[in-house]
Subunit: 260 residues, 2 copies
Amino acid sequence: MVDHEEPGNVRRPPSKRIADELRQAIDSGDMAPGAKLPSERDLAAQYGTARNTAREAVRILIDAGLVIAEHGRGAYVRRPQTLIRLGNDRYSPKYRATGLSPFLLECAKQGKTGRFEVLGIERATPTIEVANRLDVSDKTKSVLQRENIFWADDDPVQRVTTYIPWAIAKGTGLLQEEVPHQYGIHGVLEDQGHVMARIREEINARMPRADEARHMRVPPGVPVIDVLHTSVDEQGKAYEVTRFVMRADMSGLLYDVPVE
Amino acid sequence: MVDHEEPGNVRRPPSKRIADELRQAIDSGDMAPGAKLPSERDLAAQYGTARNTAREAVRILIDAGLVIAEHGRGAYVRRPQTLIRLGNDRYSPKYRATGLSPFLLECAKQGKTGRFEVLGIERATPTIEVANRLDVSDKTKSVLQRENIFWADDDPVQRVTTYIPWAIAKGTGLLQEEVPHQYGIHGVLEDQGHVMARIREEINARMPRADEARHMRVPPGVPVIDVLHTSVDEQGKAYEVTRFVMRADMSGLLYDVPVE
DNA sequence: TGCCTCAACTGGCTTGAGCCAGTTGCTTAT
DNA sequence: ATAAGCAACTGGCTCAAGCCAGTTGAGGCA
């Protein structure tokens, strides 16, 4: 392990110095998860700075995802969350036996109650990104779009938007809220002759957009994982795209795959 | 698309109002990538607030990863970066023909010059996380640890740390900086009878730690993707673990896998 | 022509003051 | 015993002022 030794202790601004000390207390375990930080006014007094400077120090930790501030109560060391892991096996036929969707199964495994909420179902014009992957037009209402939010207990964890070419979805009943198939959307698609042979998933991480932060209640200092999933049938044709946007503090991914 | 319509326009603090307007200008394309924001002093005058309030507005955008501030020059709308995508096929034998590592190949594809730098090679005591996956002791120096940084042109993009059980690495020459094999580390391991049959990758996203931000020059408002990779041989035995920590603004992942 | 200097601009950081808005627990009146 | 109310705490946000430290370009000097 190398240390590039950037600013050294000299000329380190007070706010950063305070942040460093608090961070070290957190990393070393001196301040355990859930522990309350000194109030901004106390920190300021303790270090002989203005309140704003102490406040700035706490903010640095908030932005780093280490601390969560609660208005009127105090600032607390963030507790590690139990992770909901989305695996590449979630589309495996083996899950049909359980009768539960992989997300709900994973929630149950973590001792949480999973549920999902339908935000909207409509025939829509896809973004270029989606249109390219499905080989449909990005100028017309060429896809059926279904948007859901998944919850684990009282936390919104994922926003999931599924796109299916209208030519495939037409007349299947997928415009209804209730999916008319025991095995869900993919059951319907399979009946249409689209058997999932491969999946292709493009993964990015970024800070949430404003509306995402609101919908999923993403705390400050927490990024989202953005997965663009494409289902490909045995003929190599893409027939479904889904975008998963997941709170990174409550979820992760798992791929267990053969080397080809 | 639903909008929960949280605070409305009433009582929205000035800093957030300014941030909202700037954000909208960015999202709509009125301010293109690379465009310069008004200076903090100008913004303050324009909105009739104190400079600190305008400054706070800009900071919100910086934390959201939309804007980058340059001391003495100004604040600019961040330019989208070309992504280096790490694919699950990077361990595929097909790459041996090219004579290039997948990372360097991907850099070349993006018109960049890739290189890597060895930070350190040592016999070390693994973390519990790594020890569990390799089924070795976390109390003794049971692994060989190699740490690298990968660059694309002049940007550090990934920090990569590889762990190999000492029982396997001993006497293979992997303690030297120069890997004694045409096909790299995995060539050496294959000669030892460890043929990669499957890989297992656990993926998280988070804000960078302080040392990571320094080493990889991660700008504020940019998360990292943290991948814990495990190589498994034909007997189902794990024989190598690698942690990839990647700047999320310059890199992503790609999995193209069969449904099993 | 070429270099240097310096003024004017940029963001970085701090101060100390004030008011607002949640939270909590104690006190008081019913 | 209960409920209302209040005081004392917490963070959220703003103000106006000041100094420091990079950057840039114009002007002047050699």
